[in-house]
Amino acid sequence: MMNSTTGLTRRKLISGLAALALMPSSLIAGGGRQNQGNRNIWLSAQGDRPETYGIGWYNQSSSTGKQSLSGFRGHAVTLHPSTNRVLMFARRPGTRAIEVDLKSGDHRQAFECKSNRHLFGHGCFSPDGKFLFTTEAEIDTGRGLIAVRDANSYELLAEMSSHGIGPHELKLLKDGKTLVVANGGILTHPDTGRKKLNLDSMSSNLCYIDASSGKKLSIHRVTEPKASIRHLDVADDDTVAFAMQFQRSAAAHDRLVPLAASHRLGNSLHLFEAPEAVTMQMHDYIGSVAINNSNRVVGFTSPKGSIALFWNLNNGTFLGYHRLHDVCGIAVTADEGYFALTSSNGQMRLLDSRTLKENRALRQHPDVRWDNHLLLTTG
């Protein structure tokens, strides 16, 4: 149930969210699909130590980059749908988010979680640009939450249950009012850092939630109990591609586990299979996912395996892979012509979304440390 924490009433929130459905999908943020041509600006959390942590953006055509330091390690970034504002969320168990104006380069702290809360590194704006949703945890209970904030003032408006523990990535379906959340199922506590506290009983799920009421619409689990659903992307037809991380140390078997899957409301889950050697190469870890709508191809990245992998979203056919050291960032260019990949040592690569072959002429290698997630926009 939604828990109003400010003066905003549920009715106001509902009416605001109802208007989201009217927004044209081309304005909906995510995966860089509102971009044009190859004037891509690559955005990501960056840095490899506290002094260099921040949000960075790199202009592909001019080969120039900028960075705003944050003092904390960020995770994902998201673009406001109608302004130049970009948010970077702190990596778990951080509590802050910073905002950068891409035009002016100005940056400021956007918000800090209320007490007894921490972030999981992800958030998304409503398509009308009025609301911001973030995945959070209630620290003393471990309960997963979705916080709703005013997208301009970042005032906390409400909280709702994520219907699971450890909510990670979340996105809105194309109706603009249904949230889909990856509840990783793993309990952690800031006092014990990133230690997993409930591996024996962990329970991950993919949950659809009415963004206006917080009501659980549908919840889904994979058969493997130690597979933690972490990341997702939503296709134009609302097919959700999601990525998992397998907790092998807690598993009762030594089998390889599929880590990539899809789901569409009303249908059953579809696990993506790959040759054994390819599945093994992922080292039980996928870090990011992006869908190319025009070709119905979904890409996943495994930095632990230094590999990006691709499947046909319609039928789950494995299409191929691309090896790139410590690759994690993946996004789709505005014209949907390419998958864009970034690695921790600064590599930027573009793979033709039809052939999955790299266009080597477009390679760039700035001296930056790209972190988990990549967002593309245009200048």
């Binding site: 490899d48 778990r92 590194g121 390819v278 870890y285 892979y321 090896r323 050291h325 040592n345 988990n372």
Partner: protein, 353 residues
């Protein structure tokens, strides 16, 4: 003349004031690091590949001899040649990148050592497959062996063929009788031996002549730091060794590998020899030497001490001590050595992110 002497004297004085002299130990500089890397490739990695390939050819020769004259001495030679091949493999297995691992699905290393993939012991698969081949009617030519999957070829298959008969007897007479009574078995042995030669040669050729669809050797690509997967060359090398150490422990190689020949300890011994030479080098510039020059004396001592303890564990056949110190050495390759050489292994992408 006097002027010339004066100039020489000045030059001598000046050279005495400069930062380095010929007898100074090499400093930790990018240039010296590249030099150490070049030495490592030319004096450790490529020789390990070449030595394995050479031993594969020697093994093939002993197969020919055994098949021509299937008697006890030739069987013994065959088994000793397999032991040497296994030992040489433990040198090369430290460097599981480049031509040895340039295709995820059909990586050459998997066709040499199927255990390396996930620690799965395919010995029963191998035994069944040998039975099927002996009793089958297929033509046992190169094309047939070439299409076999990774878990039916390589060191394990050659070990089974060399160390036991079809009823799993390890008595020399039984093994020889098997070969004498089933001529197809020698064709199988020869075909399998040829495959390992082909795979070993592919690795050497990739390192020295031409790598995959590039026009260059992997050596050139590596030393130019132009690796296709975007990894840094030194990072690649260190991570490869670290992953081998991780594998040795995680997959219980000591108890799973070489179960018929009983020489798994030798494998560990050879692996540690290789790692020590890689780090210490045998020229003026070495990785540990550069770490020392960079002030990481404690780290260097820790690495040396761990290597010495691994040796003690091997010589005393102390499996617990071995496991503990292989893990410690694995840790050195994750922390002390990269830190000492100022190498970045990458961002820590952890579970939960």
């Amino acid at each position: 003349m006097r002027n010339t002497s004066l100039i020489c004297l000045c030059l001598l004085i000046l050279s005495g004031c400069s930062g380095s002299r010929p007898n100074d130990p090499p400093e930790l500089t990018a240039e010296n690091l590249n030099l150490a890397l070049e030495y490592a490739i030319d004096q450790s990695v490529i020789p390990a590949a070449a030595s394995f390939a050479s031993q594969a050819v020697d093994f093939q020769t002993t197969v020919d001899n055994f098949c021509r004259n299937s008697e006890v001495t030739e069987l013994s030679n065959l088994q000793m040649a397999w032991n040497s091949l296994y030992e040489k493999w433990f040198h090369l297995a430290n460097y599981n990148f480049g031509p040895l691992n340039d295709d995820i699905v059909f990586a050459k290393y998997t066709f040499i050592d199927s255990l390396r993939i996930r620690g799965t012991n395919y010995i029963n698969t191998v035994r069944d497959d040998i039975d099927n081949m002996i009793n089958g009617t297929q033509t046992l030519n190169e094309a047939f062996f070439e299409q076999l999957t990774f878990n039916k070829v390589g060191l394990l298959t050659l070990e089974v063929l060399s160390f036991e008969d079809n009823d799993q007897s390890r008595l020399a007479d039984d093994i020889i009788d098997d070969y004498l009574s089933t001529p197809r078995k020698c064709q199988i042995l020869a075909g399998m031996a040829q495959q390992i030669v082909i795979n070993a040669n592919y690795v050497v050729e990739g390192w020295q002549v031409k790598h995959k669809d590039s026009d260059e050797s992997y050596r050139s690509l590596f030393l130019d730091n132009q690796l296709d997967d975007g990894s840094n060359n030194l990072t690649q090398l260190l991570v490869a060794v670290q992953e081998h150490l991780d594998y040795l422990n995680k997959r219980n190689v000591l108890t799973t590998s070489a179960s018929l020949s009983g020489i798994a300890w030798n494998g560990f011994s050879e692996a540690i020899d290789e790692i020590e030479i890689l780090l210490e080098g045998n020229t003026e510039v070495s990785f540990l030497g550069l770490m020392q020059a960079g002030g990481f004396t404690d780290s260097v001592e820790a690495v040396r001490e761990t290597i010495a303890t691994v040796r003690t564990a091997i010589s005393t056949r102390d499996a617990d001590l071995l496991e503990e110190n292989i893990a410690k050495l694995d840790g050195h390759f994750k922390r002390e050595i990269p830190d000492g050489l100022d190498v970045e292994l990458g961002i820590n992408f952890s579970d939960g992110d």
